[in-house]
């Protein structure tokens, strides 16, 4: 009896916590349908689909979103590539200075964003580089690399080292082993890291606000608009982004499931493809 009471309290608490988490999300989605008059979108004035019909009505907002998506795309490519390579080296090799590299990866994560943003801006001012699209990208790659490294490292650490050793025993070079064995096996981790990098980049306000110059991104636009009233189109686009992420996460889960099914015969297949050049000879 007491046991079931405890379970009940725990479940109720969790439901309440989820409600707290979702409350602002519901409000944002709801007010994307608000037929608001004037600039402010703070009180419910009736249902309309007009904001959804033309979410890009505001050219500044459209431009800001375009910048955000472009920066997130480029950031994902660069940070995922650099971070994945670092993670592989940190987990798979022991070399002098590994501890220091580990620490260097950890440091940006333990530094408040305001410090990262300010320090970068100070550098750009010192060496006289104008801030804008490129400096935002530089900043985003700098602070998303660490997240990629951490995510891919976690995947690598849970992976069976023997499969790679088997490939190398069968004559595959280190590079071929990396490309044909390691990379396919850590693919889900890399995909998750890429998603994370993209999400952090699209969402970042603090670091971006320091290094943006005249360029606006989606978060910068919203923050700037708070004084004159945030247009309902922002709610539409925010909700759309959330739906896109939901779709991508679903796709990643499907991919992981397929890969897990494939894992059973991965050992056999990857070893044989890795030694292909050898067999041909």
């Amino acid at each position: 009896m007491r046991r079931s009471l405890r379970h009940w309290v725990l479940g109720a608490w969790s439901v309440a916590a989820l409600f707290y988490l979702f409350l602002p999300i519901f409000v944002i989605a709801l007010f994307s349908f608000n037929d608001n008059q004037g600039r402010f979108n703070f009180t419910w004035q009736g249902f309309t689909l007009r904001h959804w019909a033309d979410p890009f009505a505001n050219p500044d907002l459209a431009e800001a979103l375009k910048n955000s998506l472009l920066i997130a795309g480029l950031d994902t490519l660069i940070a995922t590539a650099l971070g994945t390579l670092m993670a592989v080296a940190l987990v798979r090799y022991s070399f002098r200075g590994r501890g220091a590299v580990d620490m260097l990866v950890f440091l940006p994560l333990s530094t408040p964003e305001v410090v990262l943003g300010a320090a970068l801006l100070a550098l750009f001012l010192t060496v006289n580089i104008g801030t804008g699209f490129v400096t935002i990208l530089i900043a985003h790659v700098m602070f998303t690399i660490s997240y990629v490294v951490v995510t891919v490292k976690a995947r690598l650490e849970g992976m069976d080292r023997h499969i790679e050793e088997a490939a190398m025993d069968l004559g595959a070079t280190e590079f071929v082993t990396f490309r044909k064995v390691t990379l396919p096996m850590i693919a889900p981790g890399v995909a998750a890291a890429g998603l994370l990098a993209a999400a952090i980049s699209v969402d970042d306000y603090v670091i971006t606000s320091f290094n943006a110059g005249q360029t606006t991104t989606f978060p910068l636009f919203i923050f700037g608009a708070t004084r004159q009233g945030v247009p309902a189109e922002v709610n539409v686009l925010g909700t759309m982004l959330l739906l896109v992420v939901l779709f991508l996460m679903g796709a990643n889960v499907m991919l992981q499931r397929r890969l897990a099914r494939r894992d059973a015969n991965l050992l056999h297949r990857s070893v044989s493809t890795a030694t292909e050049p050898l067999q041909a000879r």
């Binding site: 989820l18 703070f42 670092m86 070399f95 940006p108 408040p112 305001v114 970068l120 490292k153």
Partner: protein, 290 residues
């Protein structure tokens, strides 16, 4: 000869992998911090420019002038971290042990809200807590808030906003560490006549410490430097040190003070992490946090 060159290649390969990322972090993380140290010791004014003069007084001036904002930042961040722990621990516990086949769904639900834009979420709280909002009206009805009392532009609003925005940073590490615990240890404790509460206190909680440690850090660090919540949900009376650094840098162009404040904030945090790690007895800092 061949042996030697092979050994050489093996030792170079990791550096080849690490190289590009390391270069990026060196150029855009280490060098900026070094430059920042240099800037913090400069004197001058925005019109004539700044020159390096070993001006350590900037640090002491910054501390005495912005002591209030520093203490407020640490206080708000600590309060928000504790609130996050209280909200997230049962949630993570439920997800790890009681959610059954809904576990992945629960995880998705915990993460999903945070893919809505951070600034937009905070704007939504502005709306929810606003003076003519439904929540304030109900709280006034039941007498929890006086008829002239407000929710928006108060300390409560800022702390609630910070708590909300950094909750997943607490919930996920907690979930990971709870999920890793070998359930047989808890069963063993119960077999040995430990009450559920004793088993929780002596087995589950100590084993969840790495998660509590990591979660607290991941919540406390960004919370300390945050200025979005104070800017959108508070007034200048709730401004945190992040707001000061931001305005010094962007609006007032007082770079040395902004740089000094950044370093003071960073050292506070690093010292805090160190003490916290000692208290919790985390053996390897980076390992526990990552």
């Amino acid at each position: 000869m061949l042996r030697l060159s092979l050994a050489r290649r093996r030792s170079l390969l990791p550096w080849l992998f690490v190289g590009p990322g390391l270069l990026w972090l060196a150029l855009f993380f280490i060098i900026p911090l070094a430059n920042q140290a240099n800037v913090s010791l400069q004197t001058g004014n925005p019109d004539t420019g700044y020159a390096f003069t070993w001006a350590f007084s900037t640090y002491t001036d910054a501390i005495s002038e912005y002591q209030e904002q520093f203490l407020r930042s640490l206080g708000y961040a600590a309060t928000a971290t504790v609130l996050c722990l209280i909200i997230a621990f049962p949630l993570a516990y439920f997800t790890a042990y009681r959610a059954g086949r809904f576990r992945n769904l629960m995880l998705l639900l915990i993460i999903l809200p945070f893919f809505m834009s951070y600034v937009l979420r905070t704007v939504a709280w502005q709306l929810i807590l606003s003076d003519n909002g439904w929540v304030l009206a109900r709280l006034r009805d039941v007498g929890l808030v006086s008829d002239t009392g407000r929710l928006l532009a108060t300390r409560t609003a800022v702390i609630a906003g910070i708590t909300y925005n950094f909750l997943p940073f607490m919930a996920l590490p907690l979930y990971v560490s709870l999920e890793k615990i070998d359930r047989r240890l808890i069963e063993a404790a119960k077999d040995l006549y430990a009450s559920p509460i004793t088993a929780f206190r002596k087995v589950t909680l100590p084993l969840a410490l790495p998660g509590i440690f990591a979660g607290s850090l991941l919540t406390f660090i960004p919370a300390c430097g945050d200025f979005v919540n104070a800017a959108l949900l508070g007034t200048s009376r709730q401004f945190m040190i992040g707001n000061v650094i931001q305005s010094k840098f962007i609006t007032i162009l007082d770079y040395p003070t902004a740089a000094a404040l950044s370093f003071i904030l960073m050292s506070f945090i690093l010292i805090g992490i160190f003490i916290y790690a000692r208290l919790l007895g985390a053996r390897n800092l980076t390992q526990a946090a990552l």
